[in-house]
């Protein structure tokens, strides 16, 4: 082993000797940075053989070239190109030319001529292809110059007949990217080919290559045509037939491109009529294309199948009977027509008997088929989706499910038909497919009503062990319409079973029952006595109020009762009591009910919800009025201002609690006003003019206030979404005030002059950067602290620290309250930890030195970019704290502005003698550099970002934004 290692070492060593030798030219390049071209020139001249030259070029390509020297480098490369005899070197030069022309702020029009010239003298096909590629790059860089384009297209025409496939490929690519879009369309009567001389028709030329002998060229031709389409050229309908022919090509990439081409044409000419070969009927083009593409769903290559299936989903103009054929698969057995299981299930349902498959031979084939009518190979669209849904590759199946969804959304009758198939997909072997089909069913659920047997299949999935599947299914049930009361009962039963099996699903099961109840009040009504187990004569025992299953039943019943006034009559006494309890504890699940004799208690709530939008408006008005009232405070020191602020803050907080729509805005305002209040209090200290040693105590409170204001401003800035740059400016303004306060306090307490000078400088910098950031907002900040400060700026920057502090103090005290303008929508980011609940008395035991995994489940609302900002904090009883960054994959997005964090955090600690509690909470991380509002970018300061003082570049921090949850843990000492 040792010998082996030694050998390794020597090997490495011998390599080390060689490296400087190789690197010599590279070094030279770096030294002569002045002209890179010269260095290259020297290198290339020095190269004795082609291998060397190639080496030099390879090294050269590794380093970027500045925009100003690009042209020189290109000249030298070209010069060398003409001299070079070796193909590989020329190839490399050609590719370098392309790379260099991509350099930003370099306009390659000066080298077009040279590049085209090199083409004419080139013999090697590979080099030719590379040169054309370079031209493609150049052409792409010069979108504004039609002359260059015209020339390049001419070049492409010339080389189209090359024998090497690569050259033809590149030419077609060139034509696709640069071919003139505004070419007059070939006159319909004459068709292609009639355009002689003058402007040749790009499309007909490209389409000639649909029949090329090389599949790669055929693909390139199709791609070029698609590119033309993307660039806005209208593709002729003649192409359709050719593209259809390519659908049966031998090569998969050609077929795949052809599918796209056919699709494009079907979108362009959906209503044109095309003949059906071998008969004299005619059908719409989109139907024909649909049929042909669904034929491709049973292609040999799965890539093509995915492509075809996806494409089917976007062909919405197809006629309904064609669409329905895709789900058709005529069954037969021994030449006798057989009904599908779906049909049988439907029939059984219609006949009122539910339970299939137990009767002998109920799938026995019925009528005898005429052998001539059985069409085995599906012509057209027949059974396309049936194939797709049964495909071997789950990619195809997912694509098929998605396509079904798209089509079903636009056609209710199709949605009805594809229901059976989607329900079948719930039993797929791959979880992603199951999940996708559940989601899809939810999306189209507005069109459909589930039959009992279908619901049965759907509900069977509730026992799935995957949490995602179950939650998706709950979500689906929220939106589902069912037909009978048995369905409701079945659903409730299965949901309770689910609740029993997976207690963690509690919240989502309750939510699901809430919707189920409010959607089907009349179906629930006959079930109520049974559900609440009431009896006409006897009193039944009162159920346990903490039983999640009982709560689930109550949620269902109460929500149904909301729109069914007769229902409360069936309740027993304890039900009413439980209602009152649940209405308080689970107010989001239990709606306000008009119960006899209890009206007055809930009047406020019922007003809230019944008057709906009107109350929101009135609340909004109230909010605005309070703000206006506050706006009347002219000066921070004016008497009564404090009280007014205090009251307003209280009002706003209450408003936020009552009116959830405005909670964000109200909260925002309240916090802002609290900052002002704090500032006011700090400034109003009677003892400002006292000698320093005497007012030490006052200073402490003032310092604390300044600190608190700072924290609050960060919360204001980062916790609320929907802020506009105006509000951000206001927040920054408050922050500036707080900093000024801090500075003044520093000046009063500390005697160190150096420190004071540096903090003064820092403050001035901040004022400057404020000015820079919010230049556009300054007019709104009339008469404010900053406004005054900026007026005094020239004086400030020159004066001494002591003087500065004095000025600050007076300005701060004189400045008025800045009026807060509310944005349209403002939301507070919130987080709730669902799991752990913090209720458990059983400590989580683990051995010290090892880790224990703690499951965390939390919902986040209105958090932008949670993957980067959300962190989990664990606080141990000894004050130690850990911050854990969850994986991006742990976040799910169940709805707009909503995120769900399901993750595991690992805890570990040294041994404790007794179990104790750790706190778990979520943190919102922020950094002020990333928070620059979008409007400031428009001011153009991003260019000067390098020169920005680092002091204010990034203030990193975290805001705790969820209630801490306590978890009982017990690290046991390890036994040895």
């Amino acid at each position: 082993m040792a010998a082996h290692l030694k050998k390794r070492v020597y090997e490495e060593f011998s390599k080390v000797v060689q490296i400087p030798h190789e690197e010599a030219p590279a070094k030279k390049l770096r030294l002569s940075k002045l002209s890179k071209s010269a260095a290259l020139h020297i290198d290339l001249c020095k190269a004795t053989n082609s291998t060397d030259a190639l080496q030099y070029l390879l090294q050269f390509a590794r380093k970027p070239v500045e925009a100003e020297s690009v042209e020189g480098v290109i000249r030298i490369l070209l010069e060398h190109y003409y001299k070079e005899t070796d193909n590989s070197v020329r190839l490399k030069i050609a590719s370098l030319l392309g790379l260099l022309s991509k350099t930003s702020s370099f306009s390659p029009d000066c080298i077009v001529d040279d590049a085209i010239n090199t083409l004419s003298n080139e013999n090697s096909h590979q080099v030719l292809a590379q040169l054309l590629d370079t031209l493609l790059v150049i052409g792409a860089q010069l979108p504004e110059s039609p002359a260059v384009r015209l020339r390049l297209v001419e070049v492409a025409y010339k080389h189209l007949s090359d024998t090497y496939f690569g050259v033809r490929n590149k030419c077609l690519q060139l034509l696709g990217c640069l071919g003139l879009v505004d070419t007059p369309l070939g006159k319909d009567g004459e068709g292609p080919g009639s355009s002689q001389g003058g402007v040749r028709d790009v499309q007909s030329i490209i389409s000639n290559y649909f029949a090329d002998q090389d599949p790669r060229v055929r693909t390139a031709a199709l791609k070029a045509m698609l590119q033309l389409h993307e660039r806005g050229m209208k593709i002729h309908q003649i192409i359709y037939e050719q593209a259809c022919r390519l659908l049966s090509d031998d090569y998969e990439q050609v077929r795949s491109a052809a599918v796209q081409m056919v699709w494009v044409l079907s979108q362009l000419y959906p209503e044109s009529i095309v003949p059906i070969p071998s008969s004299n009927e005619e059908i719409r083009l989109v139907d024909d294309a649909f049929g042909k593409i669904s034929h491709m769903v049973s292609d040999g290559s799965w890539m093509v199948r995915v492509q075809a299936t996806k494409t089917l989903g976007s062909m919405l103009q197809v006629s309904p009977h064609f669409l329905e054929q895709t789900l058709d698969k005529k069954l037969m057995s021994d030449l006798r027509r057989k009904r599908t299981a779906h049909e049988r299930a439907k029939e059984l349902f219609a006949s009122g008997e539910f339970s299939s498959g137990r009767k002998w031979a109920d799938d026995a084939p019925k009528e005898k088929l005429d052998t001539n009518t059985v069409n085995l190979i599906a012509s057209g669209a027949c059974g396309g989706f049936v194939h797709g849904l049964e495909d071997e590759m789950f990619e195809v199946r997912i694509a098929a499910v998605e396509a079904l969804c798209q089509l079903a959304r636009s056609s209710p009758s199709f949605a009805e038909k594809c229901l059976d198939f989607l329900v079948d997909m719930f039993n797929d072997e791959i979880e992603e497919v199951r999940l996708e089909s559940i989601h899809v069913l939810r999306e189209i659920s507005t069109h459909i009503t589930l039959r009992e047997d279908q619901l049965d299949t759907v509900l069977a999935v509730l026992e799935d062990s995957s949490r995602d599947i179950r939650e998706a299914l709950h979500e689906l049930l929220c939106y589902t319409n069912v037909s009978t009361k048995e369905c409701i009962q079945l659903a409730l039963l299965e949901l309770l079973k689910n609740l029993n099996k997976y207690p963690t699903d509690r919240n989502s099961v309750w939510k699901c029952l809430k919707f189920l109840g409010s959607r089907h009040p009349t179906l629930v009504l006959p079930l109520v006595p049974e559900l609440l187990s009431t009896h006409p004569y006897f009193d039944t025992p009162e159920p346990d109020m903490d039983d999640p299953a009982y709560i689930a039943v109550l949620v269902l019943v109460f929500n149904a009762a909301k729109s069914c006034p007769t229902m409360p009559a069936l309740f027993s006494d304890h039900t009413f009591r439980h209602y009152a309890y649940l209405r308080d504890s689970l107010s989001h699940l239990v709606p306000p009910l008009r119960l006899p004799g209890r009206k007055q208690v809930y009047s406020l709530d019922s007003v809230d919800s019944s008057s709906g939008s009107g109350s929101v408006e009135s609340a909004q008005l109230f909010l605005q009025q309070s703000l206006n009232r506050v706006g009347t405070i002219q000066n921070l020191e004016s008497p009564g201002a404090q009280d007014l602020l205090n009251f307003t803050i209280r009002d706003l907080q209450r408003l936020g609690e009552l009116q959830t729509e405005l909670a964000g805005a109200a909260d925002f305002c309240a916090t802002y006003l609290r900052c002002q209040l704090l500032l006011m209090k700090a400034l109003q200290e009677k003892l400002w003019n006292m000698a320093v040693p005497l007012c030490l105590k006052q200073n402490v409170t003032a310092t604390a206030a300044a600190q608190q204001i700072l924290e609050e401003t960060y919360k204001l800035e980062f916790l609320y979404s929907g802020l506009e740059s105006r509000q951000v400016a206001t927040i920054h303004h408050v922050r500036l005030q707080a900093k000024a306060l801090q500075l003044i306090l520093t000046a009063r307490t500390r005697q160190g002059l150096d420190l004071l000078i540096s903090s003064c400088e820092k403050f001035l910098q901040e004022v400057e950067s404020f000015q820079r950031l919010f230049l556009s907002e300054l007019p709104h900040l009339q008469d404010s602290f900053v406004d005054k400060l900026l007026d005094l700026m020239p004086r400030l920057s020159s004066c001494k620290p002591a003087e500065l502090v004095k000025i600050l103090q007076t300005t701060l005290r004189q400045s008025g309250l800045l009026q807060l303008k509310l944005p349209e929508q403002i939301h507070r980011a919130t987080a709730t930890i669902i799991e752990p609940t913090g209720e458990s008395d059983n400590p989580l035991r683990f051995t010290t030195g090892l880790v224990v995994a703690l499951d965390i489940d939390a919902t986040l609302e209105h958090v932008q970019d949670p993957q980067n900002t959300i962190k989990v904090q664990i606080l141990y009883p000894d004050g130690q704290s850990h911050v854990i960054h969850p994986k991006p994959g742990d976040f799910r997005k169940p709805g707009p502005h909503r995120h769900r964090l399901i993750t595991q955090v690992y805890l570990s600690h040294t041994a404790w003698t007794e179990p104790s509690q750790v706190e778990v909470r979520l943190l919102l991380a922020y950094s002020s550099s990333s928070s620059a509002p979008p409007s400031t970018n428009r001011l153009g300061w991003s260019d000067s970002i390098d020169s920005l003082p680092p002091a204010e570049a990034a203030v990193e921090g975290t805001i705790p934004f969820s209630k801490p949850v306590k978890v009982f843990i017990m690290p046991k000492p390890a036994r040895r």
């Binding site: 007949s161 789950f394 072997e429 069977a460």
Partner: protein, 601 residues
């Protein structure tokens, strides 16, 4: 014309005893070598004496290919190789090679040890036979000898099932064996590339059936089992140890896990454990799901399925038992069936095809009283369910395979004649290709039209390419000038000059001359000039020269004018062209015969 001959020794218009002889390009190949389940006499094995009387098969056959391990495809293999005598190569895929001997041994035990038959192959014979087997990989081209090559494609159906592409020169045959075009819980779908064989020999078990989607079938199956279990009944599922059994096991296993059921599932012992072991090993041959998840958990390591013991059959309470064999014709499944048949709570689910004559076939057709050996009768009270789980392609699948492979001729085997007839008609109608369905011992001959490769000299190719338009069109045949040289078994196409040089011959010039009379009052020189201007007007794009020696040259065609002796107004034009310019020359002569247009200066 060369021919391909196909003779089924078994499975011709019949299911079971698959054995097909193919003669292609002078090679003889045997495809599958199976036994018939329905017979216990000589009819059970193919009639090898048909091939050759009293001589060794080795001299006649170039190779034997086994498509998969089902006994109706490989059951007669030891008999043929050891008892009849064959020493040549036998090809099968790796899983088939691994599982085949287990099944053969099991089969041998049942026939010899249980039924007490003599004159049957022994364990040693099975071992000797397997020594002759050469394993195949998917998509690997194997050269049997210099000319014969074979290639295996995935066929679904059972683990290791393969379709084979047999090729001699440019002639080729594809034999599908049994295949399945829809994937199931443990295997993928059959796939073949567009190999365009001369004959596609396909099974046609379900020639007249289009099956419902597999999801419905699976759901039905699970529902039936579940309901029966909830009633407290016992469920018997007769299966063949390998193939469907594993699919159903996976299906039930995952269902049990999802629904958290407690009723025991048993699998008849011995055989299965060994076989499951191979399923665990040959993960690459299974479907996408199993291949992707085997790192976390191999799907064939069952949690809920335990080994069966004979005594369990009398245990009270619900249970599910998989027992072999699948058609209830012998063995454990029959024993259990006899025990459970009397109780109507119980259920038997037949998941596959049953050959005529087996008990499975009888009860499926509704017979409720069965005659057992020893004159005893058995009342069948339990429920009988049929679920088509056998993984054969249905009519649609067969058509799909034809579309994939694009064969020139079609040949159906392994199915019932009536059903084949229907499918044959459909194939001929849809694809307009010939379709055959020979009976056992009947030979089908297909003439092929092989392409003959010819070497062409590069210079000639380039020259001819340059002559044509700028677009080489592969779809259109093109004529070209050249000389074909046949020499020592090779064909060469070269330019005529080179051919002359190679053969040492002199070139002979062939020229055509013709006279055209023309009425023209002008002098000879003027006439010539008039002709010159006329041709210049008509023939654009050709080089036309007026030479000083009073001739006009159009390309290489020479035109001279002389006055006739009698009439000075009648001019005689002399045209002369070489053989190569025949087209232009004859055109010119007909043009000039029409005379010169008036008004030429």
């Amino acid at each position: 014309m060369p021919e391909i001959k196909v003779t089924p020794l078994g499975a011709g218009q019949d299911v079971g005893r698959s054995c097909i002889l193919v003669s292609i390009g002078g090679k003889n190949i045997m495809l599958d070598c199976g036994m018939h389940m329905g017979y216990n006499d000589d009819r059970r094995f193919p009639d090898f004496s048909y091939i050759i009387q009293n001589a060794r098969l080795t001299d006649f056959l170039d190779c034997v290919i086994i498509s998969h391990f089902h006994l109706d495809h490989c059951g007669a293999l030891p008999y043929m190789s050891e008892m009849v005598g064959y020493d040549g190569p036998i090809y099968m895929t790796h899983p088939t090679k691994a599982i085949c001997p287990i099944l053969l041994e099991d089969f041998r035990k049942i026939t010899v040890d249980k039924k007490g038959e003599t004159n049957f192959f022994t364990s040693q014979m099975i071992k000797d036979c397997m020594k002759k087997v050469i394993p195949l990989n998917l998509h690997q081209t194997v050269q049997v000898d210099d000319e014969l090559e074979i290639k295996a494609y995935y066929a679904g159906h059972v683990l290791g099932a393969a379709m084979v592409h047999i090729k001699v020169g440019s002639e080729s045959v594809v034999y599908t064996g049994d295949y399945n075009m829809t994937p199931d819980r443990h295997l993928g779908a059959a796939w073949i590339d567009k190999c365009r064989p001369d004959i596609l020999i396909s099974e046609s078990t379900y020639a007249t059936t289009i099956r419902d989607s597999k999801r419905c079938r699976e759901r039905d199956f699970l529902k039936k089992v579940h309901e029966s279990i909830e009633r407290g009944g016992k469920v018997l599922i007769p299966v063949f140890a390998l193939g469907r059994a594993q699919e159903l096991c996976i299906l039930l296993e995952t269902f049990w896990e999802r629904m958290n059921l407690k009723a025991p599932i048993y699998f008849s012992t011995g055989l299965t454990e060994k076989a499951n072991h191979y399923y665990k090993l040959f993960i690459t041959w299974t479907n996408q799901k199993i291949r992707k998840t085997f790192v976390q958990r191999n799907m064939f390591e069952f949690k809920h399925i335990k080994a069966f013991d004979r005594s369990y059959a009398d245990n009270p309470g619900p249970m599910v038992v998989f027992a072999t064999p699948g058609m209830l014709h012998a063995g454990q499944s029959l024993q259990i069936f006899k025990k459970w048949a009397g109780n109507e709570k119980n259920m038997v689910i037949m998941p596959g095809y049953c050959v005529q004559g087996t008990i499975g076939h009888k009860i499926l057709n509704g017979q409720r009283k069965l005659e057992m050996e020893g004159r005893a009768t058995l009342d069948v009270k339990l429920q009988v369910e049929y679920m088509s789980f056998s993984a054969h392609a249905d009519a649609k699948g067969i058509m799909q395979l034809i579309r994939m492979a694009e064969p020139r001729n079609m040949l159906l085997v392994h199915g019932e004649a009536v059903k084949m007839e229907f499918l044959k008609g459909k194939i001929e109608q849809e694809f307009s290709i010939d379709c055959y369905m020979p009976a056992n011992g009947e030979t089908t001959t297909v003439t092929t039209n092989p392409s003959v490769p010819v070497d062409m000299s590069l210079s000639l190719l380039k020259r001819e390419m340059a002559l044509g338009g700028p677009l080489p069109d592969p779809k259109k045949p093109r004529t070209m000038h050249g000389t074909l040289i046949m020499k020592e078994n090779s064909l060469k196409l070269v330019s005529s000059e080179q051919a002359l040089k190679e053969l040492g011959l002199n070139e002979h010039q062939l020229r055509f001359t013709c006279r055209v009379q023309l009425q023209d009052p002008h002098s000879d020189a003027d006439t010539l000039h008039r002709i010159y201007t006329h041709l210049k007007n008509v023939l654009k794009g050709y080089t036309i020269q007026h030479l000083p020696d009073s001739t006009v040259m159009v390309e290489s065609i020479v035109i001279k004018v002389s006055s006739s002796a009698e009439d000075s107004n009648t001019k005689v034009l002399l045209l002369s062209w070489s053989y190569q310019d025949e087209d232009l020359g004859s055109y010119l002569s007909s043009l000039l015969k029409k005379g010169l247009p008036p008004g030429l200066c």
